[in-house]
């Protein structure tokens, strides 16, 4: 009886988890969204929508691969900048023991607890003032600024596992702080760098609000914004849209499953952000 309850719970969880994903695939495989009839199984395996995306054969998808490239570029730059700025800061604060450095540490902690959507309105205005409107760099700046506090937290936590005596020994051997950072700190921090880099990449890829507010032209748009335009238009074919949604979801899902261990290790190492 007890065992039966557990199995029922398991089945319930699978159904609950899979349903929206299954619906996505079901609609994407439908051959004609206009006559979508609400069946429960795909009537036939119709990959027409994916062909349309591949060849950009619909006016909403005209620039799809360019926009996909934009998403990749934005995610990649956010990753590089977050890891670089975060590791430099945590080295300065934690290893070099910068005087009054704790102020910056606390400031990072506060930023970490700041809801992104609450800062969006003034942020967009400031970006206009900086002349960065409709530029991918404004989105990269916003994502980097939200990801870096997490990076600093994780790096500080992980850095405590590396004995400070190592730095002293390097110093005795005449290493400059720059060399200590590059030759000792970074190589030893490799697992944390992977965890934080992945986190930043996925944060930027999955984010929507800042991209929607900051990017307006089709040339600078990312897939998230293009997908939203699709969603908002009345006559958009849902099978194309769901196929686009699947293509957009594949890179992050693949990354999650490939680097699951690093991600979970990163979370339990000392930082949480969903």
């Amino acid at each position: 009886m007890k065992r039966l309850g557990k199995i029922a719970l398991g089945v319930g969880l699978v159904v609950w988890t899979i349903m929206p994903i299954y619906n996505m695939i079901l609609v994407a495989l439908d051959d004609d969204a206009a006559e979508y009839s609400g069946h429960l199984w795909p009537s036939e395996m119709n990959f027409e929508s994916f062909r349309v995306i591949w060849t950009q054969d619909y006016w909403y998808l005209e620039h799809f691969w360019h926009q996909f490239g934009n998403s990749c570029f934005m995610g990649f730059m956010t990753m590089v900048l977050t890891v670089a700025i975060g590791s430099l800061a945590s080295f300065g604060l934690g290893r070099m023991r910068l005087r009054h450095g704790w102020v910056l540490g606390h400031v990072a902690l506060l930023t970490y607890a700041l809801p992104a959507s609450f800062l969006a309105i003034p942020f967009v205005h400031i970006m206009h003032r900086y002349g960065l409107s409709d530029s991918l760099w404004s989105v990269i700046a916003s994502q980097t600024m939200f990801a870096t506090p997490y990076a600093i937290l994780i790096f500080q936590q992980y850095g405590r596992l590396i004995p400070l005596e190592l730095d002293d020994a390097a110093r005795v051997d005449g290493a400059s702080p720059g060399q200590m950072y590059w030759r000792i700190y970074l190589p030893l921090m490799a697992p944390a760098l992977v965890a934080v880099g992945t986190y930043a990449l996925l944060l930027a890829w999955n984010e929507y609000l800042y991209q929607f507010l900051l990017l307006s032209s089709t040339q600078s748009m990312t897939v998230a914004v293009a997908l939203d335009q699709f969603f908002d238009s009345d006559e958009a074919p849902w099978n194309y849209m769901m196929a686009t949604a699947i293509v957009y979801s594949l890179p992050p899902v693949a990354t999650y499953y490939a680097l699951r261990r690093y991600m979970v290790a990163g979370l339990t190492m000392g930082g949480v952000k969903g």
């Binding site: 429960l40 300065g92 005087r99 700041l114 942020f123 979970v264 000392g270 969903g274």
Partner: protein
């Protein structure tokens, strides 16, 4: 307490070491990029935001607007029910996933799928699922039970319920994994000792598991409360704030005021009006993070 989560050792003595000149210069140089990012992209917008929303007239306007009052009530319902229900479920499920059976481990791999899927496509799919005429959910209800399902998103309470369900669907796996890690960090011997003392089942849960995980649970709940206040995507893509703006929350209403109605100051004021609720939570969270060995 918890081994995995507690790497936070005091290093207060290290801070007091005063460094000679060139080293201070180097250390400052290392911290400079982050300081610059913070000044130009966080501090300046924050100050600008406070300046935009500084006029008291904005708040009298807000509090006399039924739209705002509805959004405020929705925010409290969404955060209050959403966060607590999600956290309680995540905590219970983390106990279930502690089992070493093969099928439970396989289930966990499937279970984290909503966490891995980006919010936007997932919510679009759920929105479409809830369509009254052709939506997948009503098709299932019809096929299984012969029920003619409601048109979910044209009723305020059904729409808000749909927002909550989608929110829990998306967020549950993440927090379950966090609690799972918290439970895993408790040494097995402790449970074995409890077994010897006769604490099993429900009594072990109340007297061993709950006290050990209480701190982690509290910190996670506070953090999640803050983030849920700022949740924009769930409402936007599931109910769209509709029907007729009856399910707006402060985050979506602020953006609507600022960018659809082009009154940025009112948008900022709507968001800032959440501060009296947010600041105590932030203070409590900071204090918890500093004093406890649960480091998040």
């Amino acid at each position: 307490m918890s081994g995995v989560l507690a790497l936070n050792r005091p290093i207060a003595s290290a801070w007091r070491l005063r460094l000679p000149g060139p080293d201070t210069f180097w250390a400052a140089a290392f911290a400079l990029p982050y300081a610059a990012i913070f000044l130009f992209f966080v501090l300046y917008p924050v100050i600008f935001g406070f300046w935009l929303g500084s006029s008291p007239a904005l708040y009298t306007e807000l509090f006399s607007s039924p739209l705002y009052l509805t959004a405020l009530a929705n925010t409290l319902i969404f955060v209050g029910i959403g966060v607590n229900l999600k956290m309680a479920l995540a905590f219970l499920l983390s106990g279930f996933f502690m089992r070493k059976r093969k099928w439970v481990k396989a289930l966990l791999v499937i279970f984290i799928l909503p966490w891995a899927t980006p919010a936007l496509p997932a919510f679009m799919s759920i929105h479409w699922m809830l369509n009254g005429e052709w939506g997948f959910l009503n098709s299932v209800l019809d096929a299984l039970f012969g029920i003619d399902g409601p048109i979910w998103l044209i009723d305020r309470w059904l729409a808000l319920g749909a927002d909550l369900a989608a929110y829990i669907w998306k967020q549950l796996p993440f927090w379950t994994v966090i609690f799972l890690a918290g439970r895993m960090s408790v040494p097995r011997e402790l449970y074995e000792a409890a077994d010897v003392d006769g604490a099993t089942g429900f009594r072990r849960f109340v007297h061993v598991t709950v006290p050990l995980q209480a701190n982690l649970y509290l910190v996670c709940t506070l953090l999640s409360t803050i983030w849920t206040f700022g949740d924009f995507n769930t409402i936007t893509f599931i109910s769209g704030g509709g029907p007729s703006m009856s399910t707006e929350v402060l985050a979506t209403l602020g953006i609507r005021y600022a960018f659809t109605m082009s009154v940025p100051s009112l948008g900022v004021a709507a968001v800032l009006s959440a501060l009296p609720l947010l600041v105590p939570i932030m203070v409590l969270l900071m204090r918890k993070l500093r004093t406890s060995d649960v480091q998040l």
